[in-house]
Symmetry: C2
């Protein structure tokens, strides 16, 4: 008998070699599986994430599931037990017992990524692990206008780094918001979509920054999408600015369905 | 011939063993002196800070001075040269050529320290190096009321950790502000004073948190100050929440002279 747990977690990615288990590397999945192994005395309890995050990428709302053997541990006890075994760069914020139809990856309805870009002239020591950095002129209005071209269902081949193993490059972007955080002197990009290809958010951010800086025409992304060629965007924004912000397992709320207005 | 440079800097203290030079330890002073040695080919150029910061303590506006030998390098060149040699956890934000009457420590008119306390239920992975942490109930109004008892000229023996070498424990606190940052879910403490004893800010914060939590009467600090006994406050808030925010070399602006109303 096993019990399936769905857990929501945040992690500071800067000291991890990404989410996915790799031998002899410090990874998020490996850290959790080590704890579950100690707790359960099992050989291995597989942790399934909503998806991978790369080395240096952070999570505010990553979701995992796993099947824990033996007598059911209440959810509030499970979260305390696991948090007590986690290093300080991982925290579980929520735990639910779910039925076996729930799958952290296959049950996804959408994902929300956030990307933070610091505009400080010099790289701010307090943000070096937590933001990207762009100290050239930026027109936020141009980026907002350009972002509309990303909305809806498209083949995003031009925004997929090699290394992804997925053949089908069609995804739907539901929502894009680009805003200046005056207090932090940052630009905050939010993207909600059905899913994202390998490095897709970081490549979209790089392209939008080029538009904001005037190096690309405002509506160039239409052409880039149509080209289906990764060579159209050679830049990838740094891992340090990227956050897996939320995973949707219910329908995307209407307020985030900008694509409905297309 | 030497030229005296005054430089303002920020650093993320979490990977330093404090400001002050120590053999075989990574320190802020040591890092800067190493760079100056390489630049100048001198045996040693002494870096004088406005004061020390402990291991894990941060700076937004630390100030140093040093005397650089040979032909004068313009200030804008000096800052570029030094920043290019710094690790990413140190940044120089300002550089001025000053006359030999200026001394980073002896010319001080006052110092501003900030202390950040995260109220998150669990320790937030993104704040573990950058805030203190207090997850019990807090009454900000009580702390604000209590802080008034710190204003003015007092013997702060009760707030001085052993380890300080200074005999005279009289200091003047000009300004205290305690505010909730709703967005960050933090309490931010600001203290401006003529100077601060060893660990004084962290001990004051610990005492104020006890008052905010109701473990001490609101006006207990009057009694604590009068007692001149460190045993009156046994706690010291964590280093991770403390920032040397600004050093004043001119008279403290009137808006920060709350002590004038006493």
């Amino acid at each position: 008998m096993t019990t399936r747990y769905k857990m929501t977690m945040a992690y500071d990615g800067h000291l991890f070699h990404g989410f996915q288990l790799q031998p002899d590397q410090r990874t998020v999945q490996g850290t959790i599986e080590d704890a579950l192994k100690k707790m359960s005395k099992e050989k291995r309890i597989i942790v399934q994430g909503s998806g991978r995050t790369d080395a240096g990428v952070h999570a505010i709302g990553q979701v995992i599931h796993f099947d824990y053997p033996g007598k059911t541990i209440p959810a509030n006890r499970m979260i305390l037990a696991l948090n007590s075994m986690m290093p300080t760069d991982i925290i579980f914020n929520n735990c639910e017992i779910v039925n076996e139809n729930f799958h952290a990856r296959y049950s996804i309805k959408g994902k929300w990524y956030r990307y933070r870009v610091s505009l400080d002239h010099f790289v701010n020591p307090f943000k070096r692990f937590y933001t990207g950095h762009f100290s050239y002129a930026l027109d936020v209005g141009k980026m907002q206008e350009a972002a509309k071209d990303l909305l809806g269902k498209h083949d995003f081949t031009s925004f997929a780094a090699s290394g992804g193993q997925i053949e089908d490059k069609v995804r739907t972007i539901y929502y894009v918001n680009i805003a200046k955080d005056e207090k932090e002197n940052e630009i905050v990009f939010d993207f909600i979509g059905s899913g994202f290809l390998y490095n897709m958010v970081r490549i979209m951010v790089a392209a939008l920054l080029e538009i904001g800086n005037g190096r690309r025409p405002v509506h160039d992304l239409k052409r880039v999408i149509a080209a289906k060629d990764r060579q159209e965007v050679r830049q990838t924004a740094q891992a340090s600015g990227l956050y897996l912000y939320h995973v949707f397992y219910d329908e995307i709320p209407q307020k985030y369905r900008q694509d409905r207005h297309l």
